[in-house]
């Protein structure tokens, strides 16, 4: 988050309580603890992929579609590549795309939302018309439209998914701003001649962090699912990078001869999304937000 300065006394307490609320929520919730453990494992796997993967994920052999064994713990795929190594490397793409897209759409979306909410008027109108336009469609459909137009590849996928989630953050941020900006201490700051920018990002934003974090926790799991779905449809990162969606899509033609190709990559997607959903649920409880939007 930008400008979450701990030096500012007025907000450091809010800041502390924010972190401690999340911490408490996870500490007291079994599911959240399990989720955190799973997510940490996946993060470690992603970081240390090169050390953990027993084989080069793209190394082929004539040992094609061999069953899980001690040599290949999860078996090999239709080109004789080690499935475990491919899934391990796939973790990187999945987590990277999941977190980076949400980070981008959060930063841009919150900025737009705060800007629109604070100034109102024609800026608000233009931004909100665009947000409304996007709001009419499920995020995944928007991502499909965008990839269709921009083409595939890592950068394009990131742009497409980030843009697709933009409206959610903008909406949340804007509605928070509309509530907070009427508060007396904002009025006071304005009278003192504090700049708009300072008011927006030092006074208003820190107080609307809760709902935004909740939104982010929801978005990450959908961003990961979205990347996997796009890869599965052949609209993904690249044919050369092992991603979970792609491994599943490629394995589809062989699943009755090699069930492991259809089972393990999907299991990986499910586990990571599950862990984030577990954590997200606890965070949501902590902020007491009944969140139903997708």
């Amino acid at each position: 988050m930008p400008h979450l300065s701990a030096k500012n006394d007025e907000h450091s307490s809010a800041n502390y309580s924010l972190m401690s609320r999340i911490y408490d929520a996870i500490r007291t919730n079994l599911k959240a603890k399990v989720g955190l453990i799973i997510l940490t494992i996946f993060l470690l796997v992603a970081i240390f992929a090169s050390l953990l993967a027993p084989y080069d994920p793209n190394e082929m052999s004539l040992d094609m579609m061999s069953e899980p064994s001690f040599q290949h713990l999860l078996g090999t795929d239709d080109l004789g590549r080690d499935l475990l190594s491919r899934i391990i490397w796939g973790t990187q793409v999945s987590l990277f795309v999941g977190f980076i897209t949400v980070a981008i759409s959060m930063i841009v979306g919150v900025f737009l939302g705060v800007w629109a909410g604070y100034y109102g008027g024609w800026i608000d109108m233009i931004i909100m018309r665009y947000i409304d336009l996007q709001w009419a469609f499920p995020n995944f459909i928007i991502a499909v439209y965008l990839v269709a137009v921009f083409g595939t590849g890592l950068l394009n996928i990131i742009i497409a998914i980030s843009l697709a989630f933009l409206d959610d953050f903008a909406r949340v941020a804007r509605s928070m701003v509309l509530t907070i900006k009427e508060q007396p201490y904002i009025e006071a700051a304005r009278v003192q001649g504090t700049s708009d920018f300072r008011i927006m990002f030092k006074h208003i934003l820190p107080n609307s962090v809760g709902p935004i974090i909740v939104q982010a926790s929801v978005s990450i799991s959908y961003a990961i699912l979205g990347e996997a779905s796009l890869s599965f449809l052949g609209l993904g990162v690249s044919a050369n990078t092992p991603t979970w969606g792609l491994i599943l899509a490629d394995g589809r033609s062989f699943i009755s001869q090699a069930w492991w190709l259809g089972v393990f990559p999907g299991l990986a997607i499910m586990l990571i999304v599950l862990s984030i959903n577990f954590i997200g649920d606890a965070v949501r409880d902590a902020f007491d937000i009944r969140h139903t939007e997708i």
Partner: protein, 315 residues
Amino acid sequence: MFGYITRRILGALLVMIAVSTLVFFMLRLVPGDPIAAMLADAGSDEAREALTKKFGFDQPVIIQYFKWIWNLLQGDLGASLYGSNQKVTSILAEALPRTLSLACLSFFIAIAIALPAGIISAVKKNTTADHTVSIFAFLGLSMPDFWLAILLIIVFAANLQWLPAIGYAPLSSGFWEWLRHLILPSIAIGTGFSAIIARMLRSSLLGELKSDYMRTAAAKGLSDTSMVVVHALPNAMLPVITVLGIAIALLFSGAVVVENVFSIKGLGRVLIQGILNRDYPVVQGAVLLISAFFVFANLIVDLLYAVIDPRVRYD
């Protein structure tokens, strides 16, 4: 209320126009030659020129756009660039029932799973049953629909050979024929949605069960089951309606992917294939229809909610 509805409908139309305009110009910005794809190896240069002219690709994009709008106003969405140049309207008319069949059946499956699951977990709060439902709900939410589709194909189509792995049969070929082609894809789409409904239902039922009238009913000696089904459930269903908009979004996004797994030529597959083939008229038509679908579904859900919940004002 009348003014509100009119305003919403006008807004919806504006959204549709904006989206189709955006898509029209964006499609033409990207590389890919529809005529080349159409002719494959068969084309001579004369054929290429003749077709470019026939479809008007030799004209400026802005002229093409106004032509498209003009034809649209007359209910003509143009024709596919492929094969026998099927009318886009007839392609969409054939795809729509497939997607709707899929969406409806998914919806029913979702409700059929969610109702008992939600009721059990609310009534038996914090028991093993409740926890089991909750775990399954989380799994359902986290499972990618296309993966579930693959698992279902491995088990029920490839190994047990009970149900077809592919395709769609229209209702005219018999109810069972129709149904058996839709069962696996509908389960794949409906499962995630059922998890959402079950969780919503649980929390709103818990709220209802705490309310005064339920205590009164209990005092009257009504049994647990009839209390829940007769009294609490109808009230608890109200908030569930709010997720209908999400339902439509979720079922439709699911259909786009799952139709591709099962080779069902519904709206999602029409859209994806149109995109891949650069079949401009088809993509434009599909985007327009899909947009209309969402925009009006949202509108109806909002109005429905407004009718149900008198606190919503129309201003």
